[in-house]
Symmetry: C2
Subunit: 178 residues, 2 copies
């Protein structure tokens, strides 16, 4: 498993769908995951550190976890099948027993950002589905906090179509390792 | 507390916002609650008994509750303040201890429909904020299942603007009992 060091967002111009970009720690690799518009709305507010008018469904989820004396530990993006990424939310119950719950990556990423818990991506998924951002942006990969912010800004304007053209075989490899 | 016998949806033509209608049991009263577009999308699919492609955030919430050996009991719509309804999700933990968690009505209603648990509305809220559907539709209030379906269909085309005009003091009373 590889840890994610930064989360940012962009838009796929072809499908007009939101994408979340997971930057893989100590690398120039970025994993793009297409997400739904509702989750994108929540994620965008979190990334911009904007307040919500009302507690959202994810806040209710976190209240439930807290009320049942459990806590969030980490999230795993651990499976890719038929063009869909799958994830697990890992909790510890009140007896410190670890519990893994199947979930969408978008929900997991929102929870990870809210709870400040780590996101891990399966090695094989990183190999098969991440893209090398150093080919597109003149970035300094000795990441300081300030530089991470710069990376985020640049990736927000990421052109996924351009990327697809340059990596023509990017999606053809999807099912090689299932 | 009054129990809700039927849930349906409509659109507020002025704000173009979705509304959920909670029919109060053994009465012709309906409580309209404005909800967000994302929650409305989920609710509409549930009411139409359509399948979701992926488990949604509410499914994750229910998986978490189940994984932590708790269960959902009921939902309460128990407070109205500054034009906003507030609700509680009531759970029982593994020791059958009852836990009440603050939530939005929309999340609670979605969970109630998914879990087939009852929705209760505070008496004062019913008195202050519900509307009498018998004034607008020629309905038979000896509800059979078939008739409930008819009610739902009619209320789906509900004109909230018309309703507001007829009950001019409907919203002026909001804060009388806070």
């Amino acid at each position: 498993m590889k840890e994610v060091s930064n989360v940012s967002m962009g838009i796929d111009k072809i499908s007009n769908s939101p994408i979340v970009f997971l930057r893989i720690e100590d690398s120039s690799l970025v994993l793009p995951i297409w997400i739904g518009p509702c989750e994108a709305g929540v994620l965008a507010l979190i990334l911009r550190k904007e307040d919500f008018e009302r507690p959202l469904t994810h806040d209710l989820l976190l209240s439930v976890i807290q009320s049942l004396e459990a806590k969030t530990v980490k999230v795993l993006i651990d499976k890719f099948k038929k063009d869909i990424f799958y994830a697990k939310l890992v909790l510890k119950d009140k007896n410190s027993k670890e519990i893994k719950i199947d979930a969408r990556p978008s929900d997991c990423i929102i929870i990870a950002l809210k709870e400040n818990i780590p996101i891990f991506v399966d090695d094989q998924i990183v190999r098969d589905h991440s893209i090398d951002s150093s080919l597109f942006y003149d970035l300094n990969f000795e990441e300081s906090d300030e530089e991470k912010k710069d990376i985020r800004k640049e990736i927000e304007n990421f052109d996924i179509d351009e990327l697809r053209k340059r990596f023509e075989n990017f999606e053809d490899d999807d099912n090689d390792n299932e």
